[in-house]
């Protein structure tokens, strides 16, 4: 009986894990949350409210690159609603523009990854990255109070 319970529990855990893995809404929301934390770190350094640290910058840029690259593929047609998503239907009505914006964002992040070597180069590359955020959030994300 005990054994059965363990097997059942393992099955439940496994199934939940699989479900979580294939839920694009939950997945992209989690990625965006990481992106937000990374963006916040970078933004603070750009503004001078946090001290510049090259290792942290590299790490944050890597987070943004991974997040954006993965997220771009996480807007399939069956993920328009539910799961607390703030994604607007406009995404699927303008899919080409939406994907082009992701591509541009990734390009700007990767340019920074290649080009940032110190504080001066960071301040040179960072603004271009941040310019991307508002564009998508204006057109493709609902207000969330």
């Amino acid at each position: 009986m005990k054994r059965l319970a363990v097997v059942a529990m393992a099955l439940v855990c496994g199934v939940t894990a699989v479900l979580a893995d294939t839920d694009p809404i939950a997945e992209r929301r989690a990625l965006m949350k990481h992106d937000g934390a990374a963006a916040k770190t970078l933004f603070g350094m750009m503004k001078g409210s946090a001290p510049f640290d090259l290792a942290t910058v590299k790490e944050s840029l890597a987070t943004l690159n991974e997040g954006a690259t993965k997220s771009a593929a996480l807007f399939p047609d069956n993920s328009k609603t539910g799961g607390g998503t703030a994604a607007l239907p406009a995404i699927w009505e303008n899919k080409a523009d939406f994907e082009a914006r992701f591509a541009k964002f990734i390009k700007d992040v990767q340019a920074a990854q290649a080009g940032v070597t110190d504080e001066a180069t960071f301040k040179q590359f960072a603004p271009a990255i941040f310019k991307n955020c508002g564009g998508c959030h204006e057109l493709y994300k609902a207000k969330s109070g």
Binding site: A37, K40, F130, C133, G134, E138, K141, A142, K143
Partner: protein
Amino acid sequence: MKRIGLILAVLVVALAAAAWALSAPKPRYTADEWQALGLTGDAAAGRLVFFAGGCESCHKSPGQDDPLRLGGGLELKTPFGSFYPPNLSSDPADGIGAWRPVDLANALLSGVSRDGQHLYPAFPFTSYQRMAPKDVADLAAFLRTLPAIKGRAPKNALPFPLSIRRAVGLWKLLYFDNSGLPPDPEQSAQWNRGRYLVDGPGHCGECHTPRNFLGAMDESRALAGAQMPDGHGKSGNLRGGDFLNWTNADIVEALTSGFTPAGDVLGSGMTAVVRNLAELPQSDRQAIAVYLKSLPPLGPPAPAKP
């Protein structure tokens, strides 16, 4: 029996006549009254009024990025139907190039068009009525300097009886607060400036204040967050929730760059608001922060930080 019919008929006619009289558009100024104010518009100052008022958010020609091309025509979806903000460019035929400053004043301050008709409150004259006449004169001077754009916006798509503009007159009787915004002498100049920007030209309440079923703002819950008119999402509560944890500097930053303390970026309609407010002097965004932070908290408390 015949007599009752006659009385009823007279009553109906009398009521209709009363409704017609009561719903008449009432412009704030006659041409002479406006003239008597002796205002000269300053286009450079008007540019700041233009961005404080967020005119371009709705009147900019869609599908391009220049905020000064005001061809109009962007669809504004609301529970009442679709509105298409008109051409505000200096084109004399399709835009408002032929308007006198007093015409702009009556549109902004009393919701009455140049040809004496009611404007729908999708155009936020409900907030703009608090604007100072000098700001209106400056804005008129600035709008004159903008390029003329040809073409008119599509007609509003509204169901009967909302399609009758005169109905707006009855709505105004119920809900139009036509009292301007006298400064509060108890408060600092900075606070008064902040309140003016928020409640007047900035028209923050148009999205952040909940509305009743007739679309009138519920002033008892002013700025406490509301369902967005297009049905997508909610506007933030500026008197509660996580916003209470924002510092003045956080508010100024969010209104300058769009970045919030959480590392998010203000999206949806706020992107244009930020784009516009970023054009104002820093002191104006600081004044907005001071005013917003002075509002009595309303709504559920902020969740505890993990």
